[in-house]
Amino acid sequence: MAAPTTLPSALADAARDESSLRRFLHGLPGVDQVGVEQRAAGLGTRSIKKASKLHAIDLAISMVDLTTLEGADTAGKVRSLAAKAKRPDPDRPDVPKVAAVCVYPDMVRTAADELTGTGINIASVATAFPSGRSTMDIKLADTRFAVEQGATEVDMVIDRGAFLSGRYGQVFEEIVKVKEACGDAHLKVILETGELVTYDNVRRASWLALLAGGDFIKTSTGKVQPAATLPVTHVMLQAVRDWQTQTGELRGVKPAGGIRSTKDAIKYLVAVHEVAGPEWLDPNLFRFGASTLLNDLLMQRRTQLDGHYSGPDYVTVD
């Protein structure tokens, strides 16, 4: 196994072989479950109002990965999603555009035709999403296909079965290979924290993904409950912050699934600011994987500016 970049010796050692990787991951400090949940709940009570709220809403809109991952997706739906990504609130041109549109690989071409040149990224899930149950060759072919079609970001899933059985080397290898197959495209590694069960596992998987070269670590596919939660995101934000202190590199975090309201989104932004740091309040380093969240952000934005509550009749349907 080879570490993808030049790392400080401790981290380079960790990635040397399977047993040193295991030693490193199991040597990570355990997560204080009660502590992290309390801190997450405590930060969630921060009151963000008026101008700060408006700023937070605009920031959150610019961080949205507008997602449609349904069996029933059609080219028409992807095109309408792309139109919404470019101009989320057609009545108000000052609303920022979203960060990316996230689709299945066969829809990437459709999305790319609409979005190339707009500055909006085209994200594609790959590697036998959402279960990750397929052979390495198929996963790599899936990734290459998405990139060929025009994806600028790839969201891969890790093999949770292998991770939970302790075959960390295999998971590491997969991420490294998929990263190679991505070429210039950014790689987001989905940990599917709902299936990892413990915070300790989330911390280990986060470090594993960072060591293997993932540009982003992402909580969930959105197909498994529980999806993104605040405490899990805390643990992952701690990992990218620690990664930055040790290597100087900035890596991103993307909570996905279950974030539906502006209130929730703002709680996440507070966590990003407090746990990782203000430099992570940037669409290149923090994203929301969401579909219904955008409409709520737009309604709240209108409420802030118009002085009265808005309603779903005034935003586009998903």
Partner: protein
């Protein structure tokens, strides 16, 4: 017999089928007509109103999509539970409105009868207000009444039970969902009505009941873009014009009935008709 310490009550709101505290954490004392303390009621805020509208919107597809017959059965069931709570209502109406028990009994009985009267209307509205239209062309044209949507109701300030029932029942009978701001000084019968609704078969969110200051919450409902109609019956006189003006901002239907309405007489269809939209379908006929 030993002196028993009475159970002091602090009531909550009724939103989405649950009984949450006011988001603001406030409550206010409710007294009887002579000023004696009765209970604490939650003092709802604009955010409670917003949550109530969201709950009402969520409940709308299910309630408006239920068959008229089914809605009628649910409303009859409410009347049954009202009847079971008759004694409690009599006590509360007597205390709130400062009337004799005999008068309170007659008010409660009329209120229950009023509910049954509206329950009977559910499956007759379409027949009475709908029509098949004679048109000059090869079309079958017919019109049917459909519910308007989420209705914000400012309940009468004086008539705490009969007035309340007379403004809520016509809203939900035709398939609308309601957000009700109760009488400010006399909220207890409304709180008990919310307990009745919660324990009958009315789906959560169809009726949402908020206690508190009408003048504080009403403007937020009048301007709320997701509210489709507004009943001004219990609005303070000084606010009526402003409320109508902000309701016009999102073209709400506004019912401008006066607070002095006499609820003891059997009503006509006007309140039912106020929250209905007419849908007309033109169906081409074969050659």
């Amino acid at each position: 017999m030993s002196d028993r310490i009475s159970v002091a009550k602090t009531y909550k709101l009724y939103i989405g089928g649950a009984f949450p505290r006011s988001e603001s954490g406030r409550s206010y004392p409710v007294t009887d007509s002579k000023g004696t303390f009765l209970a604490n009621a939650a003092q709802g805020s604009r955010k409670d109103a917003r949550d109530a509208v969201a709950a009402a919107r969520k409940a709308f597809p299910g309630w408006s999509g239920a068959t008229a017959y089914n809605r009628g059965q649910v409303l009859y069931r409410v009347a049954e539970v009202l009847e079971g709570r008759r004694e409690q209502f009599i006590t509360e109406v007597a205390a709130s409105e400062g009337v004799q028990v005999k008068k309170a009994q007659s008010i409660v009985d009329t209120a229950i009868d009023r509910w049954v009267w509206y329950a009977g209307w559910t499956d007759k509205i379409a027949a009475v207000l709908g029509s098949s239209n004679p048109v000059a062309g090869p079309y079958f044209s017919f019109s049917t009444p459909e519910p308007t949507g989420v209705v914000a109701v400012l309940a009468p300030q004086q008539s705490s039970l009969l007035g309340l029932v007379s403004v809520i029942a016509p809203v939900i009978a035709s398939g609308n969902t309601a957000v009700v701001i109760t009488s400010q000084e006399r909220p207890l019968p409304a709180i008990t009505l919310s307990e009745v609704l919660a324990t009958s078969d009315v789906p959560g969110g169809v009726v949402n009941i908020i206690t508190g200051r009408t003048a504080e919450i009403a403007p937020w409902l009048a301007s709320h873009a997701d509210v489709n109609a507004l009943d001004l019956t219990g609005a303070p006189e000084s606010l009526r014009a402003d409320l109508e003006r902000s309701a016009a901002g999102t073209v709400k239907r506004v019912l401008r009935n006066k607070a002095s309405e006499d609820f003891s007489v059997t009503p006509d269809m006007s309140r039912l008709r106020a929250y209905l939209e007419t849908k007309t379908v033109w169906h081409p006929m074969g050659v």
